[in-house]
């Protein structure tokens, strides 16, 4: 009795993930030829995973090197329960995978670097929204600013790590503004934003991070600024606010975000 299509597809899927799985009769011709063809399929599948993940995680790839990254992608791709049809979304789970990946146990900063990279990757395709500008804020009375609740732009993400993930990321950019840190163990806070459609990563001081985290948690501006200066006595709203506005961190009040949050 011939094999059912469903059974054949299951065997084909199994053979794509495991070189030891039987591949006989998956294609016409001798078994040895079929095995060679399935091995090609398997190789292309792994190469596609490495390419898609490398597109989202170029810094992680540079950190570990091409060979290691390809092997990591192969392992991740095999262990991962694929549900999406869009390779741009493959890799959301890679930071958590990296965090528990034995061969990277000696490089504990990798997972947080990967988390920052995923935010950068998502920022490229985040929904559009009109950014709040200074002219709009300038017409709001000072007494109303204190209670004003701002919303972060869909492309914005905040990160905090015991590792120097901001410096590590920045050092891997084409016109690297900073050198690789000699010592990765250093508290850092980073901001991902997309001013004028260009994704950027900024290093944040503790105070600025506290303010933006408070705004992200829907606390009003007055409370957020107070959280900042409590964390960092040198925090200066007159310096920070213009930079936040120039980076388009907030959504203008009357525009929808364009996607559910």
């Amino acid at each position: 009795m011939p094999e059912t299509l469903a059974r054949l597809q299951q065997r084909f899927g199994a053979a794509l993930l495991d070189a030891a799985a039987p591949s006989d009769r998956l294609f016409r011709g001798p078994d040895a030829h079929t095995a060679a063809c399935v091995a090609l399929y398997r190789g292309n599948l792994a190469a596609n995973w490495a390419k898609a993940l490398g597109n989202a995680y170029p810094v992680l790839r540079a950190l570990v090197g091409e060979d290691f990254f390809a092997a990591l992608a192969r392992r991740f791709g095999r262990d991962y329960a694929h549900v999406e049809g869009d390779l741009n979304t493959l890799g959301a789970g890679l930071p958590d995978f990296v965090a528990t990946f034995g061969p990277l146990a000696d490089h504990p900063y990798m997972a947080d670097v990967a988390r920052l990279e995923w935010s950068v990757h998502r920022a490229h395709s985040a929904a559009d929204a009109h950014a709040l500008d200074a002219a709009t804020l300038a017409v709001i009375a000072a007494e109303d600013l204190d209670g004003l609740t701002l919303r972060l732009h869909p492309a914005v993400a905040l990160h905090e790590s015991p590792w120097a993930i901001d410096a590590i990321w920045l050092a891997h950019q084409p016109a690297a503004p900073v050198p690789l840190p000699a010592e990765p163990r250093q508290d850092s806070r980073a901001l991902v934003c997309r001013p004028r459609w260009r994704v950027a990563v900024r290093s944040l001081r503790a105070g600025e991070h506290a303010a933006l985290a408070a705004i992200a948690a829907a606390h009003p501006l007055g409370e957020a600024l107070e959280a900042a200066i409590t964390t960092d006595p040198d925090f200066d709203p007159a310096d920070a606010l213009p930079r936040w506005l120039a980076d388009g961190l907030f959504i203008a009040p009357d525009t929808p975000t364009g996607e559910p949050t």
Binding site: A47, N55, A56, L63, L180, L221
Partner: protein
């Protein structure tokens, strides 16, 4: 509340300084945005016109574990570390 007044006053000053500089705002608004598009992961064609998929015809027959040794830029940061501090 004095602290809050001071903070809001500083914020107002910062906003006013930017809002009062229309030349700066106009320049930023009109800045050209070259090279903003990031390549997607779904298409095979590369920017050089060569077909990336064609170069991927590698067979994968190795049932053994690849030996993992990180050989990238991480070596420039003092090599391997142990969680909790430099190893």
């Amino acid at each position: 509340m004095n602290k809050r007044h001071f903070l809001i006053a500083a914020a107002v000053a910062g906003i006013a300084a930017v809002a009062a500089n229309p030349a700066l705002a106009a320049k930023e608004g009109k800045e050209k945005c070259y090279g903003i598009a990031k390549a997607g992961a779904n298409d095979c064609a590369s920017t050089t016109g060569s077909h990336a998929c064609a170069g991927q015809a590698k067979t994968d027959n190795d049932p053994n574990e690849w030996k993992y040794v990180a050989k990238g830029t991480c070596a420039d940061m003092g090599g391997s570390l142990k969680a909790g501090g430099k190893g």
